[in-house]
Symmetry: C3
Subunit: 153 residues, 3 copies
């Protein structure tokens, strides 16, 4: 499996990752476990999709945001993991945080924007567990945030 | 410890697990670590408790929902883990997401519906860490969602 | 590294940890992995910072709350881990839950109250991943809740 090539086939070039904006770091590796900090739908340092699902942000925009978040997760992994994305043997879990109104109920559809890309890029190794929830708000007014756990073993 | 028998003593039969509704999977096993996707309070494929705590859903209904979510977590484990529930040596963590109003403050009481069942079913091995938060909304208007991490070692 | 001494230099004495308030436990250790339940900004058993960011709670109060939450995480570790805080080799991840309005966007600044303390206390070993989200409400009307994952290896 060459993840970078699969992503290229999908028209996705892994961007340079965002630098840490505080005292935390984007990736920690411990044994075979790799944890990636929650990533926003930022493109070239600017959050590209802001607002709430159910209050102006459409399903399609939400899915696009979730996909950008996961591309940013991939960007962090490519730089931080020795051997890069190809070294990941399994996506263990994605956490999807969707900025949403109390009435919104299609969080799963939004998060599929990330999940579908995970499987398209990693194949069977990309079939992950996930938890998707609707939150009141996110940093920088982002519409979606995605975090991840990965396995090297 | 026979978890299935303990559950039967509690009047609980493990249901057939819900099939995955998207490209994610209900359970991933990596080394001794088992991660289960967030489960909704669904019975036979239909979310049984919808709405928000603090806006119509009572404490008792919320606890009932949390309990159903954990039963659905158990159902996924029973099918996905070789050896089933009896193979779990420890419940590491439960994450409890409670759809709630900004004024609601009894999230812990709601989540006890899951935590009490965890200990009733697994005994000491069921004594888990947990984080409980109040979210704006959940997939399919569910009142509660519960995710879990387990250990085989 | 002596974490207790570093904390003392910062004017922080580790308090006695809060006893579990339900059937869950504050800390679980599995292999090299240590998981700590979500902690509230409680001082001597009473939540010290209540309310929402964006609706009365200031940025400074929020940062103070995040810092107290992490001190309470440390208090749980000091008691539950054989060898105490000095036995921790890495802070893997902090989860920051900020009770916030839909309009609030400075969650990262609030959570820095915890992240900055993590690095001040643990140095390089304190450089963690994190996910920070704005939630509708938290147990006992707390303004912030912080959970953690740690490594012994």
């Amino acid at each position: 499996m060459n993840v970078i090539e699969r992503l290229a086939d999908l028209g996705i070039t892994i961007p340079k990752p965002m630098p840490p904006v505080a005292t935390y770091v984007p990736v920690v590796i411990a044994g075979d476990l790799v944890i990636v900090s929650g990533q926003l739908p930022a493109i070239e340092g600017k959050v590209a999709v802001t607002g709430q699902l159910g209050a102006g942000v459409t399903l399609e925009e939400g899915q696009h945001a979730a996909r950008i978040c996961l591309i940013n997760v991939f960007a962090q992994l490519e730089v931080a993991v020795p051997g890069g994305l190809n070294r990941i043997s399994r996506i263990l879990r994605l956490g999807g945080f969707i900025a949403a109104t109390p009435e919104f109920s299609q969080h799963a559809t939004v998060m599929n924007g990330a999940s579908d890309l995970a499987v398209a890029a990693f194949g069977e190794a990309g079939r992950h567990t996930r938890s998707t929830i609707g939150v009141a708000s996110l940093p920088l007014d982002a519409a979606v945030e995605v975090e991840g756990m990965f396995w090297l073993g």
